[in-house]
Amino acid sequence: MSDDNKTIDWLLRCGVALQCAGYAWLVGVVLETPLLAWLWEPADVGGLGLGEARGMAIVRVVGVLLTLAAVSTIMRPSRVLLGLVFLFQLLLAYAAWQTYDGFPLDVAWLGGGQLRAWGETAVRLFPFAAGAARIAAPLVLLLVHWSKIRKLMGIAITPTVEWLLRVSIALTFAAHGLEAMQQRGSFLDMLIVTAHRLFDVRLEESTAQTMLLIIGVIDLVVAVLIVARRWRPVVGYMAAWGLITAAARFFALGVDRGWYEFAIRSAHWVLPLVLVLAWRLVPVPDALLRSIGSDD
C-alpha cells in the first residue's frame, strides 16, 4: 500500500474519531441538540413526544455509543459502529429538519406564489446539505477501510467514494456559503469576536458583512468547482478553509465549548484533505478497476 493511501485511511479514521468524540460530548453531556428536542417535543411541533426524561436517557445512550465509536475508530474500526455513526448523522439532520433548527434561509427573493412555497419547503431540508460532509465521513471510512481494491492495490479512493466526497463537500460548502451570503448572525459574531481576540481589532459589522459576502461567494464557487473538475488547489483551499472555520470556534466560544464545536466539524477539512492526497496519486483507469472487481 502506498504511503498516501495509508495516510488517507488514517486521516479518515482520525477525522471520524474526532467527529464522534465531539458529538459524544455534545449529545451525551451537553445534551442540547436537535435530536433531544425531536425526541421530547410533542408531535404537534414535530417531535416524538417521548418526554424529557426518556429523551435524555436515549441521547445519553447515543453519547456512549459515539464514545465507543470514537475509540474503536482509532483502535480497530467497526463496521457496525461506523454504520451507527452514519445513521446518527442522518437522524440529527432529520431532527433539525423536524424541529426547525438551524439558520432560516430567506427565500423572499423567490417572489411569491408556488415557487416561494417550494423554496420554503426546500430550505427546511437545509440541515441535510449543511451536514452532508459529516453524514458522508463515516460512510467514506466504511467504503475505504474495508476496500478490496485498497488491500489488493493500495487504491483508497474508488470512483464512487470520490463522487461521495465531491458531492458531500460541495453541498456543505454551498450551504454554508448561502448562510454566509445571507449574513448569518453567528457567522458575523465569529468574525468580529475572533478578530478582536486574535488581533485586538474591533471589526465593524459592515466590514464583517462585506467579508462574509465574499466568503459566501467563494464557498459557492469552490462548491461548483469541486464537482466540475479535479483541481487540487481548490480542494486544498477547501481543506484549509474548513480547518480555519472549525478552529475559529476555539477563539469565538472559548476552549470549553470550542473544542467540541471544532471536533464535530472535522469532516469539513478532513474530507477535502483526502481528495488533496487522492488526486496526487496517478488515476487508475476504470478498465483496470473493473478487471480486478471494484468494490462499488
Binding site: 451537553v30 442540547e32 421530547w40 417535543e41 410533542p42 404537534d44 411541533v45 414535530g46 424529557e52 426524561a53 426547525y100 432560516p104 430567506d106 423572499a108 411569491g112 416561494r116 412555497a117 420554503e120 449574513q183 448572525g185 453567528s186 458575523l188 459574531d189 468580529i192 469576536v193 478582536h196 471589526l203 465593524e204 459589522e205 464583517a208 469565538a252 465549548r257
Partner: protein, 431 residues
C-alpha cells in the same frame, strides 16, 4: 405558595348563582352566534397596540383584514373627551406567506403620536365602512408612579396553555386595576411566538389567541416584542409593525425611572447591536433607576447552551449595573442570584426567565454554578413574570397558570457609580 389573583367565587352560594347566570348567558350567546352573520372581510380583527418608541406619547395600533380595503384609519379619543380624531394608517400590506390557496390577509398599522402620558385612549379601527368594536389602552406615565409589566416568552406550542395564559393576563390586568395595585402597562414577550416564523397560518392563530389578552371591557394590553429563533422570516416585522429589514433591537422608557431594552439574539450580537447597546446604556442607564433588558436566547441558560449574549452583552450589563435581564428559550422557570464576572456578586445582574407562555416545560439544570444558590426558585410550570417597579424597590413575581405565586423577590436600587465611590451601596436581593 400563595395565590396572586383572587377569585371572587369563593363563597358556595355565590358560585351557585354565578353558575346559573353563566349558563343563561351562554345559552343566549349561543343562540345569538347561531343566527349571527360571519364578520365582514373588511371588519378589523387582531386589534393590538405595539410599543417600540416612547410609550408615554406614542403607540402603534395594528389590525388585520381579510380583504385589502381602500381606506384604513384609527378613531381616537382620550378618556373624558367626546370628539373622536381620525388618524389614517401609515402602513398597509398583504402578509407574506401562503395559506394553502386561501386569501392572504392584510396588515394595517397606524402610528399614534403626541399622546398624553398615563392617559386612557379609546380607539376604533376602521377599514372602509367597517369599524371594530371600541377598545382602549393606557399610555405609559412619565413620572415616578409605581407601574407593573408582564414578561413571558415561548408561546410557540401548547396551544391550550397559550390561550389559558393569555386569559390569565387579561384577568391580571383587571385584578391590578380593581385591587388598586400598580397598573400592568404591557406585555414584554421574549420571543418564540410561534413554531415556524415563515408559516402565516401560525401567526394568524397567534394573533387570534392574543385577542384573549384583551379585557372584557376592551382594554388592550400593549406588547413589546423580542424576536426568537422560531420567529424567523419577514412576517414577524409585519405583525409587529417593524420596518421591513429592521433588526428588532430598541429601548422604551416605561416611566421616568424604568427603561427596558429589547435585544435580538437572532442577529449579530457582537456588531452594531452591541455598539448600540453600549451607547444606549451610556446615555440612558443612570437616567433611570431601574434598567432591565429582554431577549430570547439566554446568557445564563437553565437548560441550553449560552448565546452570544454572554460574550457580547453581559460585560455591558455588568459595567452599567443593569438590574435584571429577562431571558426565554429554555422552557423553565429560572432565577439566578446577582452575577458578575462569572461569580455570584451582590453588585451583579439577576437573570430570570425562561419562557412559559405555552410551550412544554423542561427541568432546569440547577447544578450549574449560577443556579445552585437559587435552585429552589427554579421550576417547570407554565408561567409569566409580574415585574412591579416602585421608586424604592422592584418586585418580581413568578405567577403560574393556576394563579399561584411560584417565586417572588425584591431588588433594591443601585447608586450611580460617581455616588457609589463615596457611598458604597450594593444591590441586594430579598426573598
Amino acid at each position: 405558595m400563595h395565590r396572586y389573583w383572587n377569585s371572587p367565587l369563593q363563597d358556595a352560594s355565590l358560585r351557585g348563582l354565578m353558575a346559573i347566570v353563566v349558563t343563561m348567558a351562554l345559552s343566549a350567546l349561543t343562540s345569538c352566534v347561531s343566527q349571527a352573520e360571519p364578520p365582514h372581510t373588511l371588519t378589523p380583527r387582531h386589534v393590538r397596540v405595539i410599543w417600540h418608541d416612547d410609550p408615554a406619547t406614542s403607540a402603534i395600533v395594528s389590525w388585520t383584514t381579510t380583504e385589502p380595503g381602500t381606506k384604513h384609519l384609527v378613531k381616537l379619543r382620550a378618556d373624558g373627551q367626546e370628539d373622536w380624531t381620525s388618524i389614517e394608517s401609515d402602513r398597509n400590506e398583504q402578509f407574506q406567506g401562503e395559506l394553502g390557496g386561501d386569501t392572504v390577509p392584510y396588515a394595517h398599522h397606524t402610528t399614534l403620536t403626541d399622546l398624553q402620558p398615563a392617559t386612557e385612549y379609546h380607539v376604533v379601527c376602521q377599514t372602509d365602512d367597517h369599524p371594530s368594536r371600541e377598545f382602549y389602552f393606557i399610555t405609559a406615565p412619565n413620572d415616578d408612579r409605581p407601574i407593573s409589566l408582564l414578561f413571558g416568552g415561548d408561546s410557540r406550542s401548547g396551544i391550550d396553555e397559550r390561550q389559558n395564559v393569555n386569559r390569565m393576563m387579561a384577568r391580571m390586568v383587571a385584578e391590578q386595576q380593581v385591587a388598586e395595585r400598580p397598573p400592568i402597562l404591557a406585555l414584554a414577550h421574549g420571543g418564540d411566538f410561534i413554531r415556524n416564523g415563515t408559516a402565516l397560518d401560525q401567526w394568524l392563530a397567534w394573533l387570534d389567541h392574543h385577542e384573549l389578552t384583551t379585557g372584557d371591557d376592551g382594554r388592550l394590553l400593549p406588547i413589546i416584542p423580542a424576536r426568537g429563533n422560531h420567529d424567523m422570516g419577514p412576517i414577524f416585522n409585519q405583525v409587529f409593525a417593524f420596518p421591513e429589514r429592521d433588526e428588532n433591537y430598541y429601548a422604551v422608557s416605561l416611566s421616568s425611572y424604568v427603561r427596558l431594552a429589547t435585544l435580538n439574539t437572532e442577529t449579530s450580537t457582537a456588531g452594531d447591536q452591541r455598539d448600540w447597546l453600549a451607547d444606549e446604556l451610556a446615555a440612558e442607564r443612570w437616567n433611570h433607576r431601574w434598567y432591565i433588558a429582554q431577549y430570547h436566547k439566554p446568557a445564563f441558560p437553565a437548560v441550553k447552551i449560552p448565546s452570544g449574549a454572554l460574550t457580547n452583552w453581559v460585560p455591558l450589563f455588568e459595567q452599567y449595573q443593569v438590574n435584571m435581564a429577562c431571558e426565554a428559550d429554555g422552557h423553565v422557570i429560572k432565577r439566578t442570584p446577582p452575577l458578575k464576572g462569572t461569580k455570584v456578586d451582590p453588585e451583579g445582574v439577576v437573570y430570570i426567565g425562561e419562557g412559559g407562555l405555552g410551550v412544554g416545560q423542561r427541568t432546569p439544570k440547577t447544578s450549574r454554578w449560577y443556579l445552585q444558590d437559587t435552585a429552589e426558585h427554579c421550576g417547570s410550570e407554565h408561567h409569566l413574570h409580574l415585574l412591579t417597579f416602585r421608586p424604592e424597590r422592584f418586585d418580581c413575581r413568578v405567577v403560574t397558570m393556576d394563579g399561584e405565586v411560584f417565586d417572588e423577590f425584591t431588588l433594591a436600587p443601585r447608586t450611580p457609580p460617581q455616588v457609589s465611590a463615596r457611598t458604597p451601596d450594593a444591590a441586594s436581593v430579598t426573598n
